[in-house]
Chain length 447, copies 2
């Protein structure tokens, strides 16, 4: 596959605005599915589409190799984030633009570029007749909206997928340019919304202040009991019970690759960093579970003074979980904590709790032979030791594949830390794009 | 003055939509001033207008009586609340409508009806040649927007107003129909707004959760340190220092006239009442200072989950103060508390505090001879002992008049508790309207 052919495919793929969050773009979602199906079919893949009603299809594509080969699963997602705010882009979001050694465009880094790399790598192996492994592509279109149907598709495909020896998910960053990275742990997530009500309508704080409860004050008190705002520690009894202490060896490994506070703070755009249990700020979100309020609202927040006791209050908050913490158990623990807390207020305060998301943490031993072998191939190719790192965020697919199928998952990728994922001017470094195709060929051909 | 003449005046006055909060209605504010000036001039008053730029004028009108008479000040305000929500009115808001024994219309109860009563009472005294007292009217047009210029006008008029022996403010409710009430205490108010910032933009809670402070969590913790959400007690050290213990005699008097919890809860529209220090719920807002959050906002509160650490947070809150608490000192106490609290977070959190309002509490001894004499006239007229009561809300004019001039202020009125002040279907009971005119005549003629 010539470089120009790869760029042509990449360009066609980027030109399809497959934004899963926008219902008006459902036809574009179908166009993206057609584009990939056609491409994979042309490479000898048998393509099957899984679809639940009008939701974006998940592509299952399989190309059988020789009987002594392994079966390799490759996960990707063809849906992208909305391009907003458009005026902050320096080029057209849905036009692949080459500039300053980067490919620009929505989806270049997340995750269309990686999909094109994987297809090109397989294409090259086929062309050179060096692909003995069976390859299974699993490409979904709901990653950016929460992978709603992914678990059910995995269940449907279970017989097929159980034959896979190892899954590759190329949906993360490199550590730095020419420094490969494998992510072996992602945090899980349990997301809550709480609504409080103390009456039919807002009340006059002069007439009723001291005689009725204030929902904003109750939310404040609830959260003060849930987390220490200075140390960041979650105060819910039992929350840390199943968290393992990270082994000295692993901590040493992690400490070898810590971004400086200056660098990390600059990335965050924050006024300053905090430190939990004396670990570097860069590692604290990766190795400890956390709790954060995402939004809170009660009463009047417009201009000027208004002296009401609000009738209602609302808050959204979530817990990020690490390995051995179970999302289901954590949900019950938090609900139980809130119920006991709210009992203090009796019938004077009505409340409801909703849970929105529900992802278990992902963790794959770095001693797994596939991770180790992949790391060696990456290290040899880039001339730099592969960094093993944890991530604080969540990729539901990684955990679902591992949990449902019990297979090793190698989580890696070739975009750089300044790739602007989910933001304007999303990009993929050109050098790392081509190097990635080469090294993926070595991995899929040689593992 | 015949009843029909009074109704005609009342009707004309109500038909002027003098909503001070609406800049488009500035011409109507002028019309209301003209209406009152003309009326008072026709009664022999010398009228003077005080105005600061384009703001609604305050009317100062004086009619000199006999040399052995007293000088009586009468405060009122000709501005009214906006009529929203209009569709909840059963009659036209700016048309005086007589129905079911009530006068309906915006301003009937607050405060135009009372102004018409006062003018009619004076008119009757003049007609019967029984007005020996000098009468001073002070009618402002900024009461509903915070009495911004009132203190400066009082200062301007100080020489004139110091000659006044007693001020009457008829801007409150009766206890019940035919049960007169004098309010001898109102709470003061200090209003704050706090804004927090931890960074330039919202951050990903996966990547940064544990590494940066969360402004919503800090606000929660701050308020949990400021007030006990269950008991309602303010936790700021020194907050209650200057609060006097209410004498047993006064408490006994107050306890004679306590609304039942059922009645008070129904008025509040709340799910249930609380009790502070074992006093009846009805009294707790009247005799103790209080603190309430009026509004809080941080992060994302739209539909669905969004996993951000908000960059900013905002809250509005105020303290209601009782006699002997000084609004200025309380402002400093609260600012000092917040500054010490925020020091914990150092430069990682930027914050700013704004104070919006600033009213001292009002308190007039019930032993004051003018209060006592007025109470006797009211009791005799209505055939029921006058209730002496405190209020939890604030009327800045009462406190300003008393503080600047050091004169007794008699705070009373003739609207009923269900007069719907500031709400749709505002009304004035017809019987109490006419009785009020009669008894005001007795007061202004006989005090």
């Amino acid at each position: 596959m010539s470089k120009q052919n790869v760029i042509d495919d990449f360009s066609s793929f980027i030109s399809i605005p497959s934004v899963s969050a926008d219902p008006k773009r459902a036809p574009d979602m179908s166009r993206a599915v057609k584009f990939l199906s056609k491409k994979l079919t042309s490479l000898g893949f048998e393509v099957r589409l899984l679809q639940n009603g009008q939701n974006p299809a998940t592509i299952f594509a399989k190309r059988i190799g020789s009987t002594d080969g392994k079966t390799i699963g490759i996960y990707g997602h063809y849906d992208v984030q909305p391009e907003d705010p458009v005026r902050e882009w320096d080029s057209e979001p849905f036009t692949l633009t080459q500039k300053n050694g980067r490919f620009y465009g929505r989806g270049t880094a997340d995750n269309k570029g990686h999909i094109i790399q994987n297809i090109a790598a397989i294409d090259n192996l086929i062309a050179s007749q060096s692909l003995k492994n069976t390859i299974v592509f699993l490409i979904e279109g709901e990653e950016e909206t929460g992978s709603e149907h992914f678990t059910s598709y995995i269940d449907t495909l279970k017989d097929e997928l159980m034959k896979v020896d190892v899954f590759y998910i190329t949906d993360v960053e490199m550590y730095k340019k020419n420094i490969p990275m494998i992510i072996y742990a992602l945090r899980g997530l349990v997301y809550f919304e709480i609504e409080l009500k103390v009456g039919d309508h807002d009340m006059h704080s002069g007439v009723y202040g001291n005689a009725v409860y204030n929902p904003a004050q109750i939310l404040a008190d609830l959260f003060a009991h849930m987390k220490n705002s200075r140390s960041g520690e979650v105060l819910i009894s039992g929350f840390y019970d199943s968290v393992r202490k990270i082994a000295e060896k692993e901590m040493k490994l992690l400490n070898n690759h810590v971004f400086s506070d200056e660098e990390f703070q600059k990335d965050a755009g924050s006024l300053g960093l905090t430190s939990m249990r004396n670990v570097p700020s860069y590692l604290a979100p990766k190795i400890f579970p956390s709790m954060d309020i995402h939004g809170i609202k009660s009463g009047f927040v417009g201009d000027g003074p208004k002296t009401i006791i609000p009738a209602q209050g609302l808050a959204k908050f979530s817990f990020r979980l690490v390995e051995h913490q179970d999302a289901g158990k954590m949900e019950l623990l938090v609900r139980d904590f809130i119920e006991k807390y709210m009992n203090q207020y009796g019938a004077r305060v009505e409340y409801s709790i909703t849970s929105h998301s529900y992802d278990n943490p992902f963790y794959c031993s770095i001693n797994d032979p596939y991770l180790q072998k992949t790391a060696r191939i990456l290290s040899d190719h880039f001339g730099h030791e592969t960094v093993f790192m944890r991530e604080g965020g969540s990729i539901p697919a990684a955990e679902i594949i591992q949990r449902v199928l019990g297979k090793p998952v190698v989580l890696t990728g070739f975009v750089l830390p300044d790739a602007n994922l989910h933001a304007p001017n999303e990009n993929f470094d050109e050098d790392m794009f081509w190097e990635g195709i080469e090294v993926l060929g070595k991995i899929y051909g040689g593992i």
